[in-house]
């Protein structure tokens, strides 16, 4: 079963690959606490779309599960799962575990 830290690492790797201007300008090494969106977030809305798509594809390659991160539940939550790397990893982990098919 996939561990949270694997997803945190995967999201950080994706984040570094995209390297949004705000992250590059800060010179800070991303962690699980790195804000993704909103106040002090490293992405604008277009950048966040890219991150979500890249993470979905990376998760599919890793687990064989085609999860949709921007699903109805994510959009209706009071606290967005896209706040920071850690919350995105948590939400991704939930979806991977809930997804039918082989264990993630």
């Amino acid at each position: 079963m996939i561990q949270r830290q694997v997803l945190v690492d995967l999201i950080i790797a994706t984040l570094k690959e995209i390297n949004p201007p705000a992250l590059a300008a800060s010179g800070i090494e991303p962690t699980a606490d790195t804000r993704l969106f909103g106040k002090q977030g490293v992405f604008d809305s277009i950048g966040l779309v890219s991150l979500i798509v890249e993470v979905e594809q990376a998760v599919a390659e890793l687990t064989g599960k085609a999860v949709t991160l921007a699903d109805d539940r994510a959009m209706s939550q009071q606290h967005s799962p896209f706040r920071n790397v850690g919350t995105l990893a948590d939400y991704t982990l939930t979806l991977v575990h809930e997804h039918p098919g082989q264990p993630g």
Partner: protein, 244 residues
Amino acid sequence: MSIPDSPDSPDRRDSPVVLVTGTRKGIGRFLVEHFVRTGARVVGCSREPVDFTLPGYTHHLADVTREEDIKSLLATIGKDFGRLDVAINNAGVAAMNAALLTPTAQLDRVMTTNFRGTALVCREAAKLMMRRTFGRIINFSSVALPMLIEGEAAYLASKAAVVAYSRVLAHELAPYGITVNVVGPGPIDTDMVRGVPADKIGRIVERQAIKRFGRFEDVANVVDFFARPQSDQVTGQVIYLGGV
């Protein structure tokens, strides 16, 4: 589009990947044959199996209204080819009924297939296209939409939704090198049109500037234009055939 002449050419492995929905018959099947002839690698889907095979063509059973089918289809394309160049949302159903006599189930069916199906394929196709910062999405409307033909309210509402969705998507996907356009054929001799009363079809043809039935080739011509890499400045557009 730089593509090999022969469908059997070994160069096909580097040629564009084209997805067409609703390929069992009619325009969808024609577009499969058309793109295979150009040397493209073509993937198609329908709810029922097809009765043909072609070198360079792969068929999948998938219902465009089912999110899991579409996610699985696009994941397979990503795994098999690593790219998607063109997505053609041809799958659709007709609904010919007076608005006041349209059953709720028919409303749902036509909106779900024509709009949600198109939107789901657009969404998942664009995710794959984003990898290469290139893509061409081509959706389907109908000349009956600008003509506001009576008795087609639900069908035309679904096509209006497709047009609006496509035009907004064109803006959202432009930064990724993906264009989104719409072709609106007039009446063509397909099963869908054969199910419409002849006098109604006749009135549509009569209102076109070019008063003849469309041909599959007419649709392919517009699709080719939208699909060309050179058409990278063409997005959010609707081309209606026949002169509306």
